[in-house]
């Protein structure tokens, strides 16, 4: 232990150990607390009009593909008569980039099982061209729409990306999942409905 030269020195010695105590307490806290979901937060004011078990909202947005934003509108009717898998993404969101191959695999395996895939790409801190690059890079061959003002994000109460919705043929929201998911989790949720229809 250090030799104290007086009261001041003693206080300094005690102060010196506070950061170490804080660090140890923090590490204990980290070990005891499970990690948060891998989700990128987005700026949306809470105007949630949909929830699990409730009716999904209709919307109309411009289509986007690997070439860029289209002049053509896509009108989403929730009661489409088909199971819908909808994902909300941002092109810059690392978790969305991580999930892209999983969603592509899901599409490959479920497109012939009457499941409709829709990607809603947000426009926060990005533009249509960067989003088109993402679509091209990740071979998004299903319906993709661009939501520049995050209007549909707000309608669906999306707090961050990626967020996934599964909507039944009557337009009821069956599932909402936030953050990165495994292929198994998403496939299991789709299978749950497909088995019982």
């Amino acid at each position: 232990m250090p030799k104290n030269k007086g009261r001041g020195a003693s206080v300094k010695t005690y102060l010196a150990f506070i950061p170490a105590v804080v660090l140890v307490a923090f590490i204990v806290y980290l070990v005891a607390t499970p990690p948060s979901p891998s989700l990128t937060t987005v700026t949306t004011t809470a105007q949630t009009s949909v929830s699990v078990g409730g009716q999904a909202s209709s919307f109309s947005l411009n289509l986007i593909d690997g070439q860029g934003l289209k002049d053509q509108k896509f009108d989403f009717n929730p009661a489409s008569g088909k199971l819908v898998f909808m994902d909300f993404i941002h092109e810059w969101c690392v978790h969305c980039n991580n999930m892209a191959p999983i969603i592509e695999m899901l599409y490959t395996n479920y497109k012939d099982k009457d499941v409709v895939f829709i990607t809603v790409a947000g426009g926060q801190n990005t533009d249509a061209q960067k989003t088109a690059n993402y679509i091209r890079k990740h071979r998004v061959s299903w319906t993709a729409v661009f939501d520049p003002q995050l209007e549909v994000f707000r309608k669906y109460g999306v707090r961050g990306t990626p967020t996934y919705f599964i909507i039944d043929p009557k337009g009821l929201i069956l599932v909402k999942l936030e953050g990165e998911q495994t292929y198994g989790t998403l496939a299991q949720e789709l299978d749950k409905y497909l088995r019982h229809r």
Binding site: A16, F17, P19, T40, T41, V94, T126
Partner: protein
């Protein structure tokens, strides 16, 4: 004496910031453009080293620097330790800036604030040992 307290204060601020970066979700003000994005940096594969959040290494560095800074006005070994620790810190900061700008191609302003605090500790260490 003032340099010691300054280094201790900068280290404590860095410790708090590193703890925040380890656990808290990225705040909105940090998402300025797709380049100046804390989220792109903090959710990249480089945000963890050997399964441990990179910011936690920073918290460890700042905690040790703070302890040494408090003791440096009385203990010569603490002042010397702070020199070696600061050199290590500068190397670490250089590596992290390289990772951000070259490998991730994004800049996290909160991480940059922590880097500035680390550099401040290194500069104050120079005055402590002058």
């Amino acid at each position: 004496m003032i340099a010691s307290y300054g280094a201790a204060a900068a280290s404590l601020a860095g410790l708090v910031l590193s703890i925040y970066l380890t656990i808290a979700p990225t705040p909105q003000f940090c998402e300025i453009t797709s380049f100046m994005s804390c989220d792109r940096v903090l959710s990249s594969p480089y945000a963890k080293v050997m399964g441990v959040p990179t910011a936690l290494y920073g918290a460890g560095w700042f905690a040790a620097a703070s302890t040494a800074a408090f003791l440096s006005s009385e203990k010569r070994w603490a002042a010397r330790f702070l020199v070696a620790w600061s050199l290590l810190g500068i190397l670490g900061i250089a590596a992290l800036i390289y990772v951000e700008l070259v490998l991730i191609n994004a800049l996290c302003i909160l991480c940059t604030a922590a880097h500035v605090l680390g550099l401040a500790v290194a500069i104050l260490t120079f005055f402590i040992n002058r």
